[in-house]
């Protein structure tokens, strides 16, 4: 099985070699998230460093029984990036990505991330069309409830309900797949 050993668990256990390995496994993931959230390369560089230092310092907070490592790292990165954008007084919104690539991450982590993404995509496809559309606008395009309501013509209460129910459904389904959760 690819990527079964958690670098965060090893960091929490005091393994110094896991710290740089965390970068080689998840550097591309965190960088891509930061670029998408912030757009500006300079902001993204600072944010990526913040995210990794947060991950290393709080590695013991990762519980493999609750989520896969790529999902947990994405959650921490999203949290830091959302917070960063709120502090900057900007709306959380995704930015278009350039195609340029330099360097790259390990294949094991790439495959693990793809595997995790495929599971979530399958769950997403189980949602009702309207729920799925709203969730996509909120998660991927980073639109606010108000922006989604304006775009879709749905009442804001319905937008909130779709997001809430959709997230709960996804979490429940993923927990079933992971054999645990709450």
């Amino acid at each position: 099985m690819i990527g079964t050993d958690s670098v965060l668990t090893r960091i929490a256990a005091g393994d110094p070699s896991a710290v740089p390995e965390c970068i080689s496994r998840y550097g591309s993931l965190v960088w891509s998230l930061a670029r998408r959230f912030l757009g500006n390369t300079t902001d993204a560089e600072d944010a990526v460093q913040d995210v990794f230092i947060d991950l290393w310092k709080n590695a013991a907070r990762y519980d493999p029984a609750r989520a896969s490592e790529p999902t947990y790292i994405t959650m921490i990165a999203r949290r830091r990036l959302i917070d960063r954008k709120r502090r900057a007084g900007r709306t959380v919104s995704a930015q278009p990505l350039p195609e340029e690539t330099i360097g790259g991450g390990g294949h094991d982590s790439r495959l693990e991330i793809q595997d995790e993404a495929a599971k979530a995509a399958a769950v997403l496809n189980e949602l009702r069309e309207e729920e799925r559309r709203v969730i996509q606008m909120a998660v991927y395009q980073g639109l606010t409830h108000e922006q989604i309501a304006a775009t879709t013509g749905l009442p804001i209460g319905t937008v909130k309900t779709h997001i809430r129910r959709g997230l709960i459904r996804v979490r429940e389904r993923l927990c079933v797949g992971e054999g645990g959760g709450q």
């Binding site: 960091i11 989520a67 999203r78 294949h107 993404a117 997403l124």
Partner: protein, 254 residues
């Protein structure tokens, strides 16, 4: 249960936290609600949003070399301390509440450290890749290789699972056409095992590059390295390039 307005408000705030973040007032409200529902997983919807984000993301953009260099320098300065495993999570504000004590403790440490003799200047710029490579050279093995105009050297430590590769003479590739990929032959793996992926890389316009090597899986005893030219821009899991077509093979420096 479902009609409990406090329960509904809790779900609403958790969903909002996962998507847009919360104001300080909302964080306080969330904490109060979480006290009423102590078994609620405060991160559950954030994890769901993260999983969905992974599902919707396009192919990952590779980490730029300059950013990687800074991160690895930060990693070198970070010393992990063994800690107890994760337990039930709290909301972000509860974390912030006790992190305030951590910050206070860190400030105290910082205050003490400013009055303590320091062996190094912490304001000094982080070491360059070349400096890190030279430091590692003292406790690692050197590998060298040459083929036509390509000259490559690698400093690698089995013990630390880190290395640095410097190459000259590799022609830059069009990113759409392919990429260079490093492979590590692990002498401890069974015969016939494929080499370990050492990562993909691009070279500077002058055909040179100096990059850190961090394999995703353990290399017990590096016996050789090889560089291939892969047509998939993201690299491959197992190379189909024939050994005679390798760009260069590096063996232990005698």
């Amino acid at each position: 249960m479902m009609s409990d307005p406090r329960r509904e408000r809790l779900d609403e705030l958790l969903a909002l936290q996962a998507m847009e973040g919360l104001s300080s007032d909302e964080v306080r409200e969330l904490d109060q609600l979480l006290e009423l529902f102590p078994h609620e997983d405060a991160e559950a919807l954030e994890l769901a949003a993260a999983a969905l984000h992974l599902a919707m993301s396009p192919p990952l953009e590779a980490l730029p070399e300059s950013v990687a260099e800074k991160l690895y320098a930060a990693a070198n300065r970070f010393t992990p301390r063994p800690t107890v495993p994760a337990t039930k999570t709290t909301s972000s504000s509860q974390w912030l509440a006790w992190s305030g004590w951590v910050v206070a403790a860190l400030l105290l440490i910082a205050l003490v450290s400013t009055h303590w003799p320091r062996p190094t200047d912490s304001s000094a710029p982080p070491p360059s890749l070349a400096e890190l490579r030279d430091q590692l050279k003292l406790r690692a093995t050197e590998f060298v290789g040459q083929k036509n105009q390509v000259v490559a050297t690698i400093v690698w430590s089995d013990q630390e699972q880190i290395g640095y590769m410097e190459v000259q003479g590799l022609p830059p590739l069009d990113p759409q056409a392919g990429t260079y990929q490093l492979w590590i032959v692990d002498g401890e793996r069974p015969k016939g095992s494929p080499p370990v992926d050492g990562g993909v890389f691009r070279v500077n316009p002058d055909g040179t590059v100096l990059v850190p090597i961090r394999p995703p899986i353990q290399v017990k005893k590096a016996a050789a390295f090889a560089i291939t030219r892969e047509t998939d821009p993201g690299g491959v899991v197992v190379s189909q390039v024939k050994p005679e077509d390798y760009e260069v093979v590096l063996t232990k420096k005698s």
